[in-house]
């Protein structure tokens, strides 16, 4: 996936106002099957997969024994006995190893990342693009976080109403050898709807405006879901899972720091790794930062002490030796 095709701003704008197509085939896909597929996956993630109906998807994190985040995932229940777990490309080996060591013997699972491709069709016109490809009415009406089998442009796929942009859209899983056919058909039929290819750069600005986490930046093994603002995906009263004891203790003790959204007040752009200053003290680090093309401000995320996490709190961001004013704001920065 290139950083950009036409340009980050133009691609960002296309996804917010029309539609964009992302080749995110680098993402990792693990299939877990068999009668115990659901309880087995449930034991590995913090959210409650045990009652996930067939055809539904769920966002979750997967933690280590200390409650640190190994990855954030989307779990799709494709069939009664078939669960798809989508992980970040950079974490694929780690998650595959983690699954291999925790799944019970006799539970069939398979890392299908190399044989599956993933295209994300995102934006308010995404549904019109599928319509132009002759998608049936029920596919167009697929609700958010649902997944279903379909055929488009002669290609068999799993279609999910999920994404990483803060817009309506679909994620299309197909066999790798069909990806080029699907990509071309989508761009051809989607062109009248303003569909264009989108790269990694706009993927980052789109997800940041929507406050969607980037693994390796906003969440890592050194962060826990409560301080990251992901407490909502930790279901402590819904059965056992890896990291539960640690997370119970963390929740009981309360977090010391929080991931907050901020916007720059002074002139400057915060970047990953820049220091956050409060009252002359370095108190935290920026985890993500860039211009927000739709919100029209320079925005970012970073960890600060709980005492500095309230909306309206003044922060300083150290930019090349200069401290530039910023303020804690409500997130997401952008909501459709």
């Amino acid at each position: 996936m290139p950083v950009r095709y036409e340009g980050i701003k133009a691609e960002h704008e296309a996804v917010r106002t029309r539609a964009g197509l992302f080749d995110v085939s680098h993402m990792g896909e693990i299939l877990v099957e068999g009668p115990n597929a659901v309880p087995e996956v449930d034991r590995l993630v913090t959210n409650d997969v045990s009652n996930l109906p067939v055809g539904r998807a769920l966002y979750t994190v997967c933690c280590n024994d200390a409650g640190g985040i190994l990855d954030d995932l989307i779990v799709y229940r494709l069939e009664k006995e078939k669960v798809l777990v989508v992980c970040n490309a950079s974490n694929r080996d780690k998650i595959v190893t983690h699954f291999a060591s925790h799944l019970s013997l006799g539970t069939p699972w398979n890392d299908v990342s190399d044989s599956w491709a993933l295209l994300a069709l995102q934006g308010p016109s995404a549904v019109r693009v599928l319509e132009a490809l002759g998608a049936p009415e029920e596919l167009l009406k697929l609700p958010s976080f649902h997944v279903t089998r379909a055929s488009l442009a002669g290609v068999d796929l799993w279609v999910a109403r999920t994404g990483y942009t803060g817009e309506d859209g679909f994620e299309l899983f197909c066999a790798s050898e069909d990806a080029v056919t699907l990509w071309r058909a989508l761009l051809e039929k989607g062109e009248p709807c303003g569909l264009q290819p989108v790269g990694l750069g706009a993927r980052d600005t789109l997800r940041l405006e929507a406050r969607l986490m980037l693994y390796g930046n906003d969440i890592t093994e050194e962060t826990n879901p409560f301080e990251a603002g992901l407490g909502w995906v930790v279901k402590l009263d819904a059965g056992d899972f890896v990291g539960k004891d640690a997370l119970e203790a963390i929740k009981a003790a309360g977090v010391e720091r929080k991931l907050v959204g901020f916007e720059m007040v002074g002139r400057g752009i915060a970047r990953h790794g820049y220091l956050i200053v409060v009252d002359g003290q370095r108190v935290g680090e920026v985890t993500s930062g860039s211009p927000g093309p739709t919100v029209g401000r320079n925005i970012g995320l970073g960890y600060v002490p709980k005492s500095s996490s309230k909306i309206g709190t003044r922060l300083g961001i150290e930019i090349r030796g200069k401290v530039v004013d910023a303020v804690v704001v409500t997130t997401p920065f952008y909501k459709r």
């Binding site: 950009r4 701003k9 750069g201 002139r267 752009i269 211009p291 093309p293 090349r320």
Partner: protein
């Protein structure tokens, strides 16, 4: 990369700035190659008029959506003017790096420093060594 011809009347640095002699002053900007590498320019940090800059040393920073890059002075001297339009319209650098998107004007302390820079033909040759 698409072949671009570079203006013949400019002098070029290895860090992709250009310099143009205009009377007593030298106007400075970044090249089309730099613009292409950066993508959408979102912020330009420059010295204030009156400040001195040193040839081949950093005089500011230029930020695109994705990255930050340092700006290097092609010649030594005093900054006499900065392009104020970039404050509110940094995209001018993308739209016309040799025209509306210029960065600063320097009163050079030693005009012969210009001769140490590359001409367009040598700069194009130099770019050829960077690709691939």
């Amino acid at each position: 990369m698409v072949m671009v011809t570079y203006p013949r009347d400019l002098h070029y640095t290895r860090e992709h700035e250009w310099a143009r002699l205009e009377g007593d002053l030298i106007r400075v900007g970044i090249t089309a190659y730099a613009v292409q590498q950066l993508g959408d320019v979102t912020l330009v940090d420059m010295p204030a008029p009156g400040e001195d800059v040193q040839a081949h040393e950093r005089f500011g920073d230029i930020e695109s959506v994705k990255t930050v890059s340092e700006l290097f002075a092609p010649v030594s001297g005093e900054v006499v003017e900065v392009n104020a339009a970039l404050e509110s319209s940094p995209e001018l650098v993308n739209e016309g790096p040799y025209e509306e998107g210029w960065l600063i004007k320097i009163r050079p302390s030693d005009r012969t420093e210009l001769e140490g820079l590359m001409d367009a033909a040598r700069y194009e040759e130099y770019l050829g060594t960077l690709d691939g």
